[in-house]
């Protein structure tokens, strides 16, 4: 219980202090990194508690259940919180080493961690919304980091589209309360079965659209390429590695966790949308020239795998979705962060990330891809298996196109015009490569020794199928 409260308190309180201090000073930047490190450590303790002793939960103020707000850490929430905070830590580390250019950056990164922890560790739909907004507001400001025209445009697009998404989410929350009379997730999951099917489907679609916008799935992706390509590498890493986790977690928590019946009804649609995302993202990534843009389209393709796994469902599908989300967060963090630094070590790290995205062993992406393939085989769908193979082949193709242009033909870099001064002259100091290399080593280690990751995602899937079995017929 203490670890659960501390995982909110530490980033929240220190983040507020850091926002006031001048983040351009080195000490403040490192204080942010240390705070994020402490948050990851607290989450690690919490994860150990949860995996060993089951869900940790308490109601605020010691009120009876149903009156107070339920804070709940289960395997699913802790997994997502841990991976998101880890990505934030890596991004904060990388940006501090390069030199922070804006005074609020460390504070915002830490506050983003507080918001994400809050939404991953709550058992209440409205509380989820509050923390969701808290992290999104931090993310809106972060998108403008750098202050150039491109960044401001990205921030305006990101904020307006995602405010619309948040509004749809809020409407869905209101609808949930209207039809079920409760906002506690477990109660909603139980009472939704007695709700008229049309109303339940309408609410479920509202949640689905809201999370798809956040995740950048195929028909809702239109904002994503501009935003990911125009923001600073560290911010792009945070957006695709930590903020996008909200969408994946929301789909899992609200899909099988709350609207299990509606999810079963719409499984075909989800798989079709996921497949469209994979092909669309892959094909357009090959067609683009700027590495950041290719990575952005790659992100659209990668989240398709998560949606396919959620659509197929069952213990195998959900475990695959969790595993793939975590792996994808780390992959994307690594790839976006490599675009800020250069050197042979970074090139090596990029290769590891590329192999991981394509699902080639020994990188951890192989484990994720394997889980998704297993899901497709379980669904007895040859089409799906072929599609996943095509998607992986496309990702290998575009990532090595980037590799060839960026790391082999370095003297031709001027051909890839970029308004960004710092992007045009990527940093070369040895210490600046440390976060990227550490991430790459981690991806390799996860691939060589995948048991912990598989066990954690299995436990997370058990949380979902447990409620689905309890709530289903």
């Amino acid at each position: 219980m203490t670890a659960l409260a501390l995982s909110l308190l530490v980033p929240w309180a220190v983040g507020l202090l850091l926002v006031v201090l001048d983040g351009r000073r080195r000490t403040v930047g490192w204080l942010g990194v240390v705070t994020l490190g402490a948050t990851v450590a607290v989450l690690g303790v919490l994860a150990a508690d949860v995996l060993r002793g089951g869900t940790v939960a308490f109601v605020t103020g010691g009120w009876p259940v149903g009156v107070g707000i339920l804070l709940r850490a289960d395997a699913l929430g802790v997994t997502f919180a841990l991976s998101s905070c880890f990505v934030l830590l890596a991004a904060a580390c990388a940006e501090t080493l390069l030199g922070v250019g804006q005074r609020t950056l460390p504070g915002l990164l830490v506050l983003l961690a507080a918001g994400l922890n809050g939404l991953f560790l709550t058992g209440d739909v409205f509380n989820f919304y509050v923390f969701f907004e808290m992290s999104m507001i931090a993310a809106y400001v972060l998108t403008g980091y750098g202050g150039g025209r491109a960044q401001l445009r990205a921030a305006v697009i990101f904020a307006s589209v995602n405010l619309l998404g948040s509004f749809i989410f809020l409407v869905a929350v209101a609808g949930t309360y209207r039809v079920t009379g409760t906002l506690a997730m477990t109660d909603v999951a139980e009472r939704i079965r007695e709700v008229p099917p049309n109303a339940a489907v309408a609410v479920a679609v509202g949640f689905f659209v809201a999370f798809s916008v956040k995740l950048g799935l195929f028909p809702f992706h239109y904002w994503l390429p501009t935003v990911y390509a125009d923001t600073r590498p560290a911010v792009a890493a945070v957006l695709s590695g930590a903020v996008a986790n909200i969408g994946a977690y929301g789909l899992l928590r609200f899909g099988p966790g709350v609207f299990a019946e509606q999810l079963r009804l719409s499984a075909t649609v989800l798989i079709a949308l996921g497949a469209a995302s994979i092909i669309y993202g892959g094909v357009l990534a090959v067609a683009r020239h700027r590495p950041a843009e290719m990575l952005a389209y790659s992100a659209i393709g990668q989240v398709g795998y998560v949606l396919v796994a959620v659509g197929v469902g069952g213990p195998v599908g959900f475990a695959a979705a969790v595993l793939y989300s975590v792996v994808n967060a780390l992959n994307k963090a690594l790839l976006f962060l490599t675009s800020a630094v250069r050197g042979p070590l970074v090139a090596g790290a990029f290769v590891v990330g590329a192999l991981s995205v394509a699902g080639v062993p020994p990188a951890v992406g192989f484990v994720g891809k394997l889980a998704v393939f297993r899901t497709a085989v379980d669904a007895r769908s040859p089409t799906l298996v072929v599609l996943l193979v095509v998607g992986s082949a496309l990702s290998l193709l575009y990532l090595f196109l980037i590799y060839q242009r960026e790391f082999w033909a370095e003297e031709d870099r001027e051909a890839v015009t970029d308004a960004e001064v710092r992007d045009a002259a990527p940093a070369r100091g040895v210490s600046r490569r440390v976060p990227v290399v550490v991430l790459a080593v981690l991806l390799l280690a996860g691939g060589v020794w995948p048991e912990p990751l598989a066990a954690v995602s299995g436990a997370a899937a058990d949380v979902l199928t447990g409620t689905a079995n309890g709530a289903g017929p």
Partner: protein
């Protein structure tokens, strides 16, 4: 704002009313915080009342002159952060005692020390924190909307 003699903005009535409303709005805000818990009122509503008075002053006098007339507004960012920290401290202190967060002291059915109508309990300090946060944020917003830090690029 062109000249100091004939500001083209609101009339003298608006400016006077804005100045006059400031003190009563603070009184109403205090009443809202003190009255809360047994009657209508909380820190957020109180903060909005004072925030609106500050915003009205900025509309009537112009942000720069409103801030010159009320130098205390310069501390708004610190009020916002201090308030948020006070609210967090009031919510999370039970962690040190091994209780769920937002367990307030004195607890239910315990004796509450009160000064006049004001009850001294952690729920009130939480609301004072929220009050400071809301006032601070509204003031900073008004300031930023009136005079953004960066010059807009034409």
């Amino acid at each position: 704002m062109t000249g100091p003699d004939a500001p083209p903005g609101p009339t003298v009535i608006v400016r006077v009313v804005a100045r006059l409303l400031l003190a009563p709005s603070v009184v109403v805000a205090v009443a809202l915080i003190v009255k809360g818990y047994t009657a209508v009122g909380d820190g957020f509503a109180a903060g909005m009342v004072v925030g609106l008075a500050v915003a009205l002053n900025a509309v009537a006098l112009g942000a720069r002159r409103a801030e010159a007339a009320l130098p205390v507004l310069r501390h708004a960012p610190y009020a916002a952060v201090g308030g948020a920290l006070l609210a967090l401290a009031s919510g999370f202190f039970p962690v040190a005692l091994g209780e769920p967060v937002f367990s307030h002291r004195p607890g239910p059915d315990e004796k509450v020390v009160s000064v006049g109508k004001a009850e001294l309990m952690t729920a009130v300090s939480f609301d004072v924190g929220i009050f400071l946060l809301v006032v601070g944020v509204v003031t900073v917003l008004v300031h930023q909307l009136a005079e953004p830090d960066q010059e807009p690029q034409a």
